[in-house]
Amino acid sequence: MDTLFLARTQFAFTSIFHFFFIPLTLGLSIFTAILETAYVKTGKEKYKQLTKFWGHLFLINFAVGVVTGIVMEFQFGMSWSEYARFVGDIFGVPLAIETLLAFFVESTFLGIWIFGWERLPKTLHAASIWIVAFGSTMSAFWILVANSFMQSPTGYTMAAGASRPELVDIMALIFNPHVWQQFPHVLAGGIVTAGFFVIGISAWHLMRKGTNRNGYETSLKFGAIFAFIGTVVVILAGHSQMQHLLKTQPMKVAAAEALWESENPASFSLFTIGDEEGLKDVFSIRVPKLLSFLAYNSFEGEVRGIKNLQKEYEVQYGPGNYMPSIVTSYWSFRVMAGAGTLMLLIALLALYKVIRESYTFSPVTGALLFWSILLPWLANSSGWLLAEMGRQPWLVFGLLKTENGLSPVSVVSRGEMMISLAVFVMLYAALAVTDFLLMKKYAVAGIESGE
């Protein structure tokens, strides 16, 4: 294991782990805010209990999201110092704006919300959780502005012989089309995550036929709406993003589809076992013309293949390997899209139940609704895996390769990298187990009735 591999593993591990918690923070903050608004508007005690119940789970999740986020803020300098030098002029800007505009707001008003139940008028208290939700959303936005620069750089200039690109147009950075593909996708992903989280826990309680049925029914109602709207938006945004990537990162699409040669019209792979060394299929089930249709909304149109793109990039950027890991890209895309399709079906099922007001489930329906909790996590993680792995070998597309972003080995040794990776793996594993058990404890304990 060389230092580059260790640093990449550490970054992937810490960022995916961080993103276990972020979507739920995004979605559940909005969900909790809606419930508290219902409490303020109607004055019904039920909504206060629901706010406290889901708010508790929100906080247990939030804590780990925050502390793992702090790690990200330092890690660019620690393990990727040459990357930090190279992109600081551009990438640092949205990060700084994020802390000033979003992180401060989120943390300060969360403290006010947690401790302010008795101190603030109801409306102000409800407003503070809305501000937290707004802060989290803004935070996600600015991080995606930064990430989009790595995917598809805009708004910069790089003089011949210069050591780094420099920002020349902040509007081009913010209105990078990639941002506006990614942001709705990620935000809707958060809504979906919260939706299924609420559906799963509510369904579990409804199956148990305990007290407070009405509270869980209301939760399920809100959760089903969240999950349905979120899933529809996430799929549409994802589809649109894929079409956009065809123009900006065609290699990522080709890898996600395991499309070796350019095809017109292009077929869509349902299941492929490929030979990554020989760049060919071992076994493949394909639907003719479907990929062209997905790409261009028409059964005509060329989708460029991996081998062709490799040749084009060699001409453009010089000799080298411009192919990401095909296996990772292909399967992460399939897991994400598969989970998305399943979620749409289950969201429809939940919505159907809610509209029919039938809250007694058969064991199969109950199990389906409960276990659907896991689907968003599967989709979120595999989606990021595709976004980041599919960008390889680039760290900043077309400008900097991953291997050139690493801190020099003379500064951060392989031993130090191994220590930090081991520390993060052990610490995060312990955090995950602890957080999960606490979540479970409070989810099982259920809504507290009467005070």
């Binding site: 640092g92 707001v105 300060t108 403290g111 130090e416």
Partner: protein, 337 residues
């Protein structure tokens, strides 16, 4: 004034915010195991900083992201050089951050004790490490001509830096003890007062010792970017005044004075550094300065506007949050954590 200098001032300001605000909640965290007698008292102590600690920590995060945006080379050189210390700080902050949320979620005494000690460790370790880091900024670290650190971990752990680490930790603890006297009643209030009075002498003595050591160990008072003049003297005088204010039961003023002492010490160090960011102990011209490490004028100007517009707003709403929770936390209040 050029944009680089403006950003140097903004980052100094962000560090002052971090040290003054997170300083007292580090102090409260450090005192937690020693000042309390039972679980109810521990919860009361934690609740004095409960609404604030997270917002206070963002001052550090913002300082860091400001370094990244304004002086990328500083950010890159510093955090790769301090790889293991930063890792330790992150681990400490992780334990501390989740401890506030986790500790009261189970009744088991061993569970609570574990997280209480996490809060202690998570407070003392970053305080110590930032003291050590700051001293090394001005003492100089082995940085070569291409802005890469050539030293090891042991270069950072010199007596001078360790003295700074211990001094900073003691001053934060004093600062936290005084904060506790302001936010508690009864027995806790009295005990916090006792601790504050006991901590005053060693904290003040070490601070003076550190200033003296600084004149020997660094070029801070000889080779000056900007002469800090009587600012360090004010810092020491503010610290000396604390004991008299405490004896007169003017804890509010004492807290103001520890805040002044912390702020002025930070200003002294940064003024001494200016225009350097990280002094090279190998060859002075290899030092990182605000000019050889900065972003372009466009980026600097842009983040300047954002910072100058939003920092006053941040100060306003954070100030408001302190006003909302201005009452003392008593054992009778509803204890959320």
């Amino acid at each position: 004034m050029d944009l680089q200098t403006l950003w140097f001032i903004i980052i100094t300001f962000l560090f002052i915010g971090f040290f003054v605000l997170e300083g007292f909640d580090f102090g409260v965290g450090i005192l937690l195991p020693f000042i309390s007698r039972d679980d109810r008292q521990r919860r009361t102590i934690i609740n004095t900083i409960g609404p604030f600690w997270d917002g206070n920590e963002v001052w550090l995060i913002t300082a860091t992201s400001g370094m990244f945006a304004a002086f990328p080379d500083w950010y890159a050189t510093l955090f790769s050089a301090l790889y293991l210390p930063v890792l330790i700080m992150l681990v400490a902050l992780i334990f501390r951050g989740v401890a506030f949320e986790f500790r009261s979620k189970r009744d088991n005494p061993a569970w609570r004790s574990f997280w209480d000690w996490s809060i202690f460790g998570g407070s003392v370790v970053p305080a110590l490490l930032w003291g050590i880091a700051l001293a090394n900024f001005i003492r100089g670290v082995p940085v070569d001509g291409s802005m890469h650190y050539t030293g090891g971990l042991l270069n950072l752990l010199n007596p001078y830096a360790l003295l700074c680490g211990i001094t900073a930790t003691l001053i934060f603890t004093l600062h936290g003890a005084i904060f506790l006297t302001l936010k508690t009643t009864g027995v806790l209030h009295e005990r916090a007062m006792e601790f504050a009075k006991k901590l005053w002498a060693p904290a003040t003595l070490l601070c003076i010792l550190f200033m003296a050591y600084t004149t020997i160990e660094t070029d801070l008072f000889r080779h000056l970017g900007v002469n800090p003049g009587i600012i360090p003297v004010f810092s020491v005088l503010a610290l000396i005044s604390v004991i008299f204010l405490l004896q007169k039961n003017a804890a509010g003023w004492a807290f103001a004075m520890t805040s002044v002492a912390i702020a002025f010490s930070t200003i002294t160090i940064f003024m001494g550094l200016y225009p350097r960011l990280l002094v090279s102990s190998l060859n002075p011209p290899w030092s990182l300065t605000i000019y050889n490490s900065s972003s372009s004028a466009y980026s600097l100007g842009l983040v300047s506007v954002v910072a100058l517009v939003f920092l006053p707003i941040i100060i306003m709403y954070q100030g408001w949050s302190y006003w909302v929770f201005r009452q003392r936390v008593t054992g009778d209040s509803e204890l959320e954590y």
